[in-house]
């Protein structure tokens, strides 16, 4: 058997993150090779490199034993690589035939030879038994059929290697089994398929080999017929990161936050979370574990007041804050570390001394009697944050975008903690940052807890959750399915509840 793809030592960094770290991957021709990993594990970066959308910093790519050097997807296509994106790139007002041949010819005034193309397409659909009416309009098609158009489109361009990015995310179960039949046919005809997913059941069903990625690294490649789902989950979640040491419980009797029967408003036909009940005492860290997309982000945002709720109660201390604006909630002592520091936590093109104001611009902390912003106060406080949280910066007049990811995050965490809140919501507080910044943030969060701060911690890093939390809830499909004591929790146990394996 020949190798369809041979990646050696592929590395790719973005400011502050190492998205791919020395990846070595070999994929046999005519197999289905799954790549699994959590969001941010580096799967899509690797695929973008393989498809010519990104350029690797170092490392080499061999396709069918030829060393290649892609500078755009066009190069990748000419080497026989095709990609079907998670979000379809189809125009509703074109027919299936037009969609497939779109972009094939150089734009000219010549009449398209549609019947020639039609025959060629029919040949392909017959060869791979993927029936398709070339005359239908795209907007008449169902999701599964649209996906088939995308696949045919790629095959029509001569793809021998097919990259499918989360292909089942948009499909209903029947469509999934149909897709899997098609993929098996393709495989039998010699097409190599790379299947990206984080749904372990599906991966085990369809793939021959499975590669696991975590934190930008290639962890292992295993045979799908011999590996168990638990093993895969364990590899995906991993235990290599430094574990935050635990400390004595310190929780007080007074409630910092009480959530009663909280249900989200319907959005896109579903409720992000439903009937959530829990409370956080002062001096307690409550963690929420869940695979991304199970409602934890919306839950955090609804407490801040930026995600709409349908019913239920949010009580901060002793005050019901349901009807308060985000601003008033922040005024009442709520602090929020958003999961995406760059788009949600900072004004990137603004100096640190102004960024420290963000979230408190309307409080007396920074607003004078005449509505003026107290810039001197802001300058002083930004220096306090920089000092106390070891933010490495030339000064407080530096723009936020100039800092590394870890320093940006330290600044955001520092700002929110220095605002002396009564409740802190920390969403992915150490995602994508270096270990030094990570352990500093862990220590600061724990110190704040010891001083009596209630913390709601949402994290995809299970070691972080187990190490920092006093209690952990597992959220699955918008509901809390389990409460765990971190003393008895391991990433495997959490993982099995998070993926719905155990209930």
């Amino acid at each position: 058997m020949t190798l369809a793809i041979d990646l050696s030592n592929i590395s790719k960094s973005f400011p502050g993150v190492k998205a791919n770290d020395e990846i070595n991957l070999k994929i046999q021709e005519g197999t289905i090779h799954a790549i699994v990993g959590e969001n941010g594990a580096g799967k899509s970066t690797l695929m973008k490199i393989l498809y010519g959308m990104l350029k690797q910093d170092s490392g080499s790519i061999k396709i069918f034993d030829n060393e290649v050097n892609f500078s755009s997807p066009k190069d990748a296509i000419s080497e026989g690589i095709g990609m079907v994106h998670q979000h379809f790139m189809l125009a509703d007002n074109l027919s299936v035939l037009e969609s497939i041949i779109l972009g094939m010819d150089k734009a000219s005034l010549k009449v398209l030879n549609k019947s020639k193309y039609k025959d060629e397409i029919n040949e392909i659909t017959e060869k791979y038994s993927m029936p398709l009416n070339t005359q239908s309009m795209i907007d008449e098609l169902g999701v599964g059929e649209k996906q088939r158009v995308e696949i045919i489109k790629v095959l029509f361009r001569g793809a021998k290697i097919l990259i499918l990015d989360e292909p089942t995310a948009v499909l209903v179960p029947q469509e999934v089994s149909e897709l899997f039949n098609n993929l098996k046919n393709l495989k039998d005809s010699g097409v190599t398929i790379i299947f990206i997913s984080h749904k372990l059941d599906e991966v085990l069903e369809i793939a021959d080999e499975i590669s696991v990625m975590r934190g930008g690294k290639h962890i292992d490649t295993v045979d799908a017929s011999t590996v168990s789902k638990t093993d895969l989950a364990e590899m995906m979640i991993g235990q290599n990161l430094p574990t935050p040491p635990k400390r004595e419980k310190n929780s007080k009797q007074d409630k910092s936050l009480t959530i009663k029967n909280l249900t989200a408003e319907i959005d896109n036909g579903r409720k992000a979370f439903e009937n959530i009940n829990f409370s956080i005492n002062q001096g307690e860290v409550v963690g929420i574990a869940g695979v991304e997309g199970n409602g934890q982000r919306e839950l955090a945002e609804s407490i801040l007041g930026v995600y709409p709720i349908e019913s239920g109660e949010i009580i901060l201390g002793n005050t019901r804050i349901n009807d308060l604006s985000t601003r008033d909630r922040r005024e009442s002592g709520l602090s929020f570390i958003p999961e995406d520091r760059q788009s949600q936590g900072l004004l990137m093109d603004v100096s640190l001394s102004e960024n420290v104001i963000l979230g408190k611009q309307s409080s007396t902390k920074y607003k004078s009697r005449y509505s003026n912003i107290k810039f001197n106060e802001a300058s002083k406080n930004s220096n306090t944050v920089i000092e106390n949280f070891d933010v490495r910066t030339p000064g407080n007049s530096t723009l936020a975008l100039a800092l590394s990811g870890g320093n940006q995050q330290k600044f955001v965490v520092g700002r929110e903690i220095e605002n002396k809140p009564s409740l802190l919501i920390a969403s992915q507080p150490t995602r994508g940052i270096d270990i030094g910044a990570q352990s500093l943030i862990w220590n600061k969060l724990r110190d704040a807890r010891d001083d009596g701060l209630g913390v709601l911690l949402i994290s995809a890093d299970l070691d972080e959750l187990i190490g920092l939390s006093d209690r952990i809830y597992v959220i699955y499909e918008g509901s809390f399915v389990k409460e765990l004591d971190p003393e008895n929790a391991t990433p495997e146990i959490l993982g099995s509840y998070m993926t719905g394996l155990k209930t």
Binding site: L304, V306, S325, T326, R327, D328, R329, R330, F336, P338, S343, Q344, G345, L346, L347, M348, D349, V350, E354, I357, L358, G359, Q361, S362, Y366, K367, S371, N372, I373, R392, T393, P394, T398, L399, L401, A402, L403, S404, N407
Partner: protein
């Protein structure tokens, strides 16, 4: 030699203007005119006392219009409707101002008040449509310009203008009484033998200060700028995007209401079909040229007014005066490019300095 960051930023417009002159030189050369001679004629004509007064008078409404546009820009809103907003305010305040008799101070205050309120209301419609119906403000303000122009034409011809049988005069409001006119500064400054330097130039200075205070110094301004910089971060910080959008449009419109004040109370004294129009669009150019900065926009307004004024002499010297329009556009383009270059330079330098700090530890 390493220049300080502030100095680098200041060099951008200077560099842009030099490039623009270079390009204009080439163009003049290509059409067979002597570039040096042309610039000299323009400069000589532009620096006469008469011209300077005219340039300053032109600059006032242009500057205020730029301020109105800039308020929107700072929040990421593109208010193209300053045009109909100021005309609406000018018409209504002209009509009301001519209809009442009041002591001078009250009379002028009333005119300004009416202009500001009606312009702000007209602008608020676009804000409301954006918040409630998701209509992009570019679309709505363009449409409101058409609607506004139509309404103004109707009001002027049918409501505020008393037709006299067989009259040939164009539709216009009644003349403002003396009490409603803002005096010129000539007597105060002791200038003689020159046209009137309009008194509202002082108002323009105050408007610039007010704009600076609101946008850079207040917590409302912080919300506006935060939303312009990152809508999501602003929302998470507690800024209410819906309220801010309507408010920003209203503030922008309120500033627009001041645009017509100088022409109305300074030299037109009535609203007619020839009332200065196009200032709302010119304001966009000036806001771009001055990068929404109160001083930058003032210089931009003066520069454009200078070009317009000095171009008038070109016709007499048989040089096509369209060259002035081309120069204007080239200046704006080069300024935008130069600022982008400087911004990248500053950013890269900051990133380098920041990474040095990390490396040093």
């Amino acid at each position: 030699m390493k220049l300080s960051l502030k100095l680098t930023t200041l060099l951008a417009p200077v560099f842009a203007i030099i490039v623009a002159f270079g390009l204009s030189t080439i163009m003049l050369y290509l059409i067979g005119e002597d570039p040096i001679e042309t610039f000299k004629i323009m400069y000589d004509y532009g620096k006469t006392g008469k011209s300077i007064v005219s340039i300053l008078n032109r600059s006032v409404p242009l500057y205020i219009s730029a301020v109105a546009v800039a308020v929107g820009f700072k929040m990421g809103l593109f208010n193209i409707g300053v045009e109909s907003q100021y005309l609406m305010g000018a018409l209504l305040s002209a009509a009301l101002g001519a209809a009442v008799a009041l002591p001078s101070f009250l009379h002028i205050t009333l005119i300004i008040f009416v202009a500001v309120i009606s312009s702000a209301f007209w602008a608020a419609i676009a804000g409301y449509l954006k918040v409630k119906k998701g209509v992009h403000e570019v679309i709505s303000t363009i449409m409101l310009n058409y609607i506004g122009t139509g309404i103004i034409a109707y009001l002027l011809a049918n409501i505020f203008f008393e037709k006299v049988e067989l009259s040939t005069t164009a539709p216009q409001t009644d003349l403002l009484p003396e009490t409603a006119r803002i005096p010129s500064l000539n007597a105060f400054l002791g200038i003689e033998d020159l046209p009137n330097l309009h008194g509202f130039i002082i108002g323009a200075v105050f408007i610039g200060i007010l704009y600076y205070w609101i946008v850079w110094k207040t917590s409302l301004g912080f919300d506006l700028r935060a939303t312009g910089s990152s809508p999501l971060a602003a929302k998470f910080s507690g800024a209410n995007p819906a309220r801010l959008t309507i408010l920003a449009m209203m503030i922008s419109g309120a500033f627009a209401g001041f645009v017509g004040i100088a022409p109305l109370t300074g030299y037109f004294f009535k609203y007619t079909t020839d009332f200065p129009s196009g200032l709302g669009f010119a304001g966009i150019t000036v806001a771009l040229l001055g990068r929404n900065h109160p001083v930058g926009m003032a210089l931009g307004a003066i520069l454009l007014s200078f070009l317009e004024r000095s171009a008038q002499i070109l016709d007499l010297k048989d040089v096509p005066k369209e060259i002035e329009k081309i120069m204007q556009a080239v200046i704006v383009l080069t300024v935008v490019v130069a600022y982008e270059v400087v911004k990248r330079y500053v950013t890269n330098r900051q990133i380098k300095e920041a990474s040095k700090v990390v490396a040093d530890d």
